[in-house]
Amino acid sequence: MAVLHESGDAGSPPGDQVTRGRGVTRRGFLAGAGGAVAGVAAGAAMAAPYIVPASALGAGGATPPSDRIGIGSIGLGSRGTQHLKGLLQADGVEIRAVCDPQQPKCEAARDRAAKAYAGRAQRGSFRGCLATADFREVLDRPDVDAVVIAAPENWHALVAAFAARAGKDIYCEKALSLTVAEGRALVDTVRRTGRILQVGTQQRSGRNFRFACELARNGYLGRLTRVEVGVPGGRALPNVAPEPVPPDIDYDLWLGPAPYTPYNPLKVSFNWYFIYDYCIGWIQSWGVHHVDIALWGAPSLGQGAGLQVEGSAVFPDDGIANTSITWDVRCTTPDGLVLHFTDNRKNPQGCRFIGEKGWVHVTRGGIRAEPASLLTVALGPGAIRLYESNEHHGNWIECMRTRRDPVAPIEAGHAATGLTIVCDIATRLGRKLTWNWPTETFENDPAADRMLSRAMRNPWRL
């Protein structure tokens, strides 16, 4: 019997269904997996299939089946399903595995793929889609070249690091990691393994967001004094009593590296966003979108030593949620540039760059500026131009072929995620902190540094 829970847990591990090995690697699984993938095993040595980038060479038309990038989709909640839908329509890729510890979600995704690829299956170019609760089985598949990770945050860095070591390229949902330390470890792993990783901060592929940042970067707003970010606030949840784990959920794999607490039906879908073991709340998971834009347009917020961080937040005082509901945090660089980051009851939704000569405010709904003429600016020769991507999946797919860094590279995802975590820590500790980017620690506050990492449940490690 595998001991994946804390030893001696009275709270009953998932039971006899556990047949996996005790280790964290899954090599060798395929040996017993039967004929489904035997035909493609010969291609195991190749990483992402490289073909001439269609767009770069001006070619059009559909990608031939042999050049399709095989994709495994890990985490099939609402966001994961959105990715699945998008990628099932995309040219040049094929969903070859789907993974979720909740069996019904997993099977629905597999059926969706089978339906979308019915034509390919008839022609013999599609050989079925693996459905599994265990992401390591996806990583063991040689015909899977890349994975999409849309599991809760406690899983992100771990699954991504496993994928990188298995030679897979990665699309990882934001926030990149649950802690600063595991985010740093993931950056190291992805760079060490030379993998392509696109962070799911898809606003970077929106023209308005890029343009707002280019205005800020090129001095059209004058000297930048302040950046205001507002995102939806978090929620409280009721108290929920433990329940037996339903037979169609592999709860041990749902928990992953998070500490053991018993199952309840409320938390395994959506509400995990607000539980600190799995996510740091919307200050992190929503905040990272616009904080990322803030850093793109005002890079000095993410560089150097001496960033002062101070703020407050309101937390639930009962119930199973324990992440902030509203917050108000101020980050100040040594040069006096301020990032004011709140839930959207204070700052309006979006990101606003404010300079001495004007401001620009960008949201998913649109872009506004003062003076309004800023919106008609065309960048002249010599201007700083940011990475141009107009489709986040498409950019990822192209970069897997060209091996170029995507528009939302891992360092950007780590910085934006890190900054939201640092803001959250300041509200939790209730005191002014000073953040040092080069060391990724707080200055002169080792007690606060202890908030930057957590120990994973055995046997997980990065």
């Binding site: 990483a47 490289y50 309840n264 309101v314 202890r450």
Partner: protein, 1114 residues
């Protein structure tokens, strides 16, 4: 079962009464309001309560303690205190395991050495071992490391793995030796954990151990060790670089080189190369150059990208040197890297890039278009002024990809003398190259280009140059250029040039700060201007507005020449601001010609509608009341009034209630004015708001208008405020299972009718009664998951007494308000065999969590006793017959297929399709077949057709399957044509590729359109074959403001929204693959097709899409 248990839990916590268990009001509503308020916690009470905590208790104590412990980190004293209290829980033999688990999780924040000793003792107990191991890992410092090292020797199995992971996470160099002993463990989990840990430690000693172990390793173990060696090399390299310690760097490079040179899959070798590059120096350059010649294309691609990390002149030289030897694909990639390098450099003109430039220039003639395009793009980063003539020539003569690259390069080229070189190229040469140079001047925002642009704009014999120069002036012309531009406008004879010149004059004039300076040149030019010129000058004045401009226009109102007089009235009616109001009102009363009076009145009412100040607006409308005698004028007046509030506006609107011409409009205005007077609902009001008769009436009218073809509204219920609706003996609805509720605050996100709901935990049931057995019915409803993103529901119908329910709609997820989605409206046919009984039950079932909610329900009834044809197949489940193609009466000619058959209920395709066919067939070269089913695209043969006219939208029904997309995609991509009509832009919402094909598509999140009414469509490109010679025209239609999309389109016609004063495209073209797409959003109904120019647009658009010359006489 699960749901049931959850409900019990919620009941127990007093939350089931609200459908929204999880919503908290700010700052924090207690998640579990108990019958009596709980006493405030104190630290003593909370820590005492923690000891007996188990997971089935409320979490209030935990929430309190988390906050307490986090705050305690601020001072050493508080930390000691908190750590001591947590330790007491851990020491207490009677404390629950759940309590200890919580204490262990939070202890590391405050723990000191004393608690480390306690945790060490906990490692002896199976029950507490893992929680203690994790806590030790999370406590930094020598004390916890010593404990971990000490237990490493005796640990076994899972516990050993945990200890190894902990030591690895802490990078404890001191334990490298003892960890290495486990590398050879037979237990694979242990040896893998040891390898990972030792790699993380990353000392020379660790490197030795891993290298030795790797020698004999096979299979999975070899892979584990490879990953560990990479990790170790990275750590060695990092510390080597940080301490300027060459031996450590060299050791790291040696480890990586061994992997790089081995016969391993590409991914390992890429990783090794990247590792060496990150260490840098000569090592990095060596690895990249080796990898650039690799057989494996993925390795080569990674190497090319890695060249970004080889800095300096030497690096650039190597890249340029190797460029000619690469495959074309690799050349494209490498040129991209070169461009990025140079673009990021501070001084792009130093020697480094002078050499790079020569290398790039060689690639221009390389042959492959893709390489050429990449080289041209790179030249934009490394090029000099000498390259301007070449780039201009390339832009003027190449295929699209290369041309676009050249235009981009010209816009970005950033070196000394480039500006002057572009001006020189704009001044002389072939017209085509001059046009490109002029475009570049605009794209570069060049200063000092005015002279050359004005000269080019005045050239009589080069129309393309003139047009380009005028377009460029419109973009970058400066105030100094304005007077000459106006003079030029007055002297132009060609109509197309005149339109461009007018645009330029207006654009540049708006940059002139002083009103007087804007108007004066126009006044001068008016003297002696021809009637045509005067008309254009007056239009310029209208675009500026203001009293000064008005004084220049005034004499023209009395001019002898009728054309000038008309032009003056027309210009006045388009006046930018209210300064023209008095003059317009006077003209509306007194002008001699009826058409002048009409124009003036419209202009006046438009200005009144735009007036921001409510009392001023009311005064303006009152003043016009006696002049507004036509139905159109009265409607405009009422539309303006409807935006006002207060007794005067109400009284004025009421005077129209008896006017048969505008009775409905008057009623709508009265309703809106009344509604505006009511105070806005308070946010977060928990009581269900009462039913509001005005709101219900307005909603009923909306739904009556939206009824499907052949149906009308018979009853409507706003669930929550209402639980029953309808008169006795007539169709009605009533709730038989479900309780009213209101989501406080939801009215900030959507209309209040969506936030008022009925709900139950299992099934909301309605009874529909009083149904006419002979007629058909459709059930409409709206729903919204305001506070969650979890709800999913299905819809069923059942006989009133007994019998099995039949499913009307599959399980569907509700749009989530929590995720910013808007409520959804749906409609399904009710089975006739059930409604024939006169009454039926409708059931909404919960298919997810937490409960089932319905916002509104209504019934549409068929107009005639027999069910309309389009309702029958769905209701009876019969297979639809093969859709029939209605062939054109014309034989021969290019065949056009008009696809229609479903649309938003407001779009009567049965009426508009024949009108559209007639308009297109005015071109005798075209023959239009009509098919009334978009599904035909899936099964039909498109081969005979040159053009598909897309006149449908899959409103609340599924679109045709993927085959249809593929067919349409291939059809257009392969060189045929597509015409999109009005709401065609809204089709295929779930097809991401459709936007590429249509250019712009409906985005439901944007404002949909201006209120239907009269507006002017302006021709943007009067030279395009579709719009050649067309003039601005008025039409009565919906002005769409809802298009989204990023790809390049060529706009032919636009209109200015009355709501936000912004311009929106009305017609545009694009190419897709080899095919042509004409997209026009005009054509809401038959009336919208009446203006001749609308018909012309579609006729010519179809001809153009068919590859014919639209203006050629057939």
């Amino acid at each position: 079962m699960i749901r049931h248990t959850l409900l019990v839990t919620l009941l127990a916590t007093g939350l089931a009464a609200a459908p929204v268990a999880a919503r908290a009001a700010a700052p924090v509503a207690p998640a579990a309001p108990a019958a009596e308020p709980a006493p405030a916690l104190t630290p003593d009470a909370a820590f005492a309560a923690l000891k007996s905590y188990t997971y089935d208790q409320p979490a209030r104590v935990l929430r309190y303690l988390e906050a307490y412990i986090q705050r305690a980190t601020g001072s050493a004293e508080d930390r000691r205190d908190a750590a001591g209290r947590l330790a007491a829980v851990l020491r207490d033999p009677d404390a629950t395991l759940d309590a200890k688990r919580f204490a262990c999780q939070w202890l590391p924040l405050v723990a000191g050495n004393e608690q480390v000793l306690l945790l060490e003792q906990m490692l002896d107990d199976e029950k507490t071992l893992e929680m203690a191991r994790r806590a030790l890992q999370a406590i930094p410092g020598e004390a916890s490391l010593e404990v971990l090292r000490e237990v490493l020797g005796g640990a076994k199995g899972d516990h050993l793995v945990g200890i190894l992971n902990a030591l690895g996470a802490q990078r404890d160099a001191a334990s490298a030796g003892s960890i290495a002993a486990h590398l050879e463990s037979k237990d694979q989990a242990v040896s893998a954990a040891a390898a990972a840990a030792i790699g993380e430690i990353g000392t020379i000693e660790a490197a030795d151990a891993l290298t030795a172990a790797a020698k004999s390793a096979q299979g999975d173990r070899a892979e584990t060790l490879l990953a560990a060696r990479l990790r170790c090399a990275q750590r060695l390299g990092e510390t080597g670089l940080a301490h300027i310690d060459a031996p450590r760097c060299e050791r790291a490079v040696a480890m990586l080189s061994e992997i790089f040179s081995a016969d391993l899959p590409a991914r390992w070798r890429i990783a090794a190369m990247m590792g060496i590059v990150r260490i840098g120096g000569e090592w990095g350059a060596w690895a990249v150059l080796e990898a650039l010649e690799d057989k494996n294309p993925t390795v080569r691609a990674a190497a090319i990208q890695a060249t970004r990390r080889i800095p300096g002149k030497a690096g650039t030289e190597k890249l340029v040197g190797i460029l000619p030897t690469l495959t074309p694909r690799d050349q494209v990639l490498m040129l991209g890297v070169l461009a990025d390098r140079a673009g990021a450099a501070d001084r792009p003109l130093d020697r480094e890039y002078a050499d790079a430039r020569l290398g790039v220039l060689k690639m221009l003639d390389a042959g492959a278009a893709a390489v050429c395009a990449a080289a041209v793009r790179a030249l934009g980063a490394v090029g000099s002024a000498d390259d301007v003539p070449r780039l201009v020539a390339i832009a003027a003569s190449s295929e699209k990809a290369v041309r676009d690259a050249a235009r981009e390069a010209l816009a970005r080229l950033n070196a000394g003398g480039v500006g002057a070189a572009v001006i020189a190229a704009a001044r002389q040469g072939e017209p085509a190259t001059r046009v490109e140079a002029i475009r570049a001047l605009a794209a570069r925002r060049s200063e000092g280009a005015g002279e050359v642009l004005l000269a080019a704009a005045a050239e009589g014999n080069a129309p393309a140059v003139r047009a380009a120069a005028l377009a460029a002036l419109a973009e970058i012309g400066r105030p100094d250029d304005y007077a000459r531009l106006v003079g030029l406008l007055a002297g132009v004879d060609d109509a197309n040039v005149a339109a461009s010149a007018e645009r330029a004059a207006v654009a540049v004039g708006q940059r002139v700060a002083e009103a007087k300076a804007r108007v004066e040149p126009v006044r001068k030019a008016m003297a002696g201007a021809s009637p045509g010129a005067a008309e254009r000058l007056l239009d310029v004045l209208a675009a500026f507005g203001g009293a000064e401009a008005l004084e220049v226009l005034r004499p023209c109102l009395k001019a002898d020449d009728t054309a000038v007089r008309t032009a003056a009235v027309r210009a006045l009616s388009r006046w930018l601001d209210a300064s023209a109001a008095d003059a317009l009102l006077a003209l509306a009363r007194e002008a001699g010609a009826p058409v002048h009076r009409q124009l003036a009145l419209r202009g006046y009412l438009r200005l009144a509608g735009q007036t921001k100040d409510a009392s001023a607006r009311l005064r303006m409308f009152s003043a016009a009341k006696d002049v507004a005698t036509t139905a159109d004028a009265k409607k405009m007046l009422l539309a303006g009034l409807a935006g006002l509030s207060g007794p005067e506006a109400l009284a004025m609107a009421q005077t129209f209630l008896d006017d048969p011409e505008v009775k409905p409009e008057a009623q709508a205005a009265v309703t809106r004015i009344r509604a505006a007077a009511k105070p806005k609902p308070q946010p977060k009001r928990a009581a269900v708001p009462p039913a509001d008769p005005d709101r219900l009436a307005a909603r009923r009218k909306e739904l009556a208008d939206a009824a499907p073809y052949g149906f009308h509204l018979v009853c409507y219920m706003d669930c929550g405020p209402q639980t029953a609706t309808g008169e006795k003996g007539k169709p009605g609805l009533r709730v038989t299972s479900g309780a009213p509720y209101f989501w406080g605050g939801s009215d900030a996100a959507a209309d209040v009718r969506y936030g008022t709901i009925v709900f139950t935990d299992r099934e909301v049931v309605f009874e529909a009664a009083g149904l006419d057995p002979k007629r058909a019915y459709r059930l409409g409803f709206s729903w919204w998951d305001y506070d969650h993103a979890t709800r999913a529901q299905s819809v069923w119908a059942a006989p009133l007494k007994e019998g099995r329910p039949v499913r009307l709609m599959e399980t569907a997820r509700l749009p989530s308000g929590a995720q910013g989605q808007k409520p959804a409206e749906k409609a399904v046919p009710l089975p006739h065999d059930l409604t024939a009984a006169g009454s039926v039950r409708v059931l909404f079932r919960n298919e997810a969590q937490p409960n089932v909610v319905v916002s509104e329900v209504w019934l549409w009834e068929s107009d005639t006793a027999s069910a309309p044809a389009d309702a029958a197949p769905e209701a009876s489940g019969e297979a639809a017959a093969e859709p029939k193609v209605h062939r054109s009466s014309r034989s021969g000619g290019a065949r056009v297929l008009l696809v229609t058959g479903i649309d938003h209920p407001g779009h009567k395709w049965r009426e508009t399709a024949p009108v559209l066919r007639e308009a297109i067939e005015k071109d005798e070269r075209l023959a239009v077949d009509i098919v009334e089913d978009p599904g035909w695209l899936e099964t039909g043969d498109l081969a005979p057709y040159k053009v598909v006219v897309h006149h449908w939208m899959d409103w609340k029904v599924p679109p045709p399957g993927p085959k249809a997309r593929t067919n349409l995609d291939r059809f257009v991509r392969g060189g045929r044509g597509l015409v999109l009509v009005h709401f065609g832009c809204g089709a295929w919402q779930d097809w991401p590729g459709f936007v590429q094909l249509a250019g712009r598509v409906w985005d439901p999140d944007l404002r949909a359109h201006d209120p239907r009414g009269t507006f002017t469509v302006d021709i943007v490109d009067a030279e395009h074959p579709i719009t050649r010679g067309l003039k601005a025209f008025e039409t009565t239609d919906e002005l769409y403001t809802c298009l989204a999309g990023a790809r390049e389109i060529h706009v032919l016609a636009k209109a200015t929204s009355k709501v936000d004063q912004k311009d929106y495209p009305m017609a545009f073209v694009l190419t897709y693959g080899q095919g042509r797409v004409f997209h026009c959003v005009l054509g809401h109904d038959v009336k919208a097709f009446e203006p001749e120019p609308v018909k012309t647009l579609y006729r010519r658009g179809a001809a153009w899409a068919a590859g014919l010359d639209p203006t050629a006489k057939p």
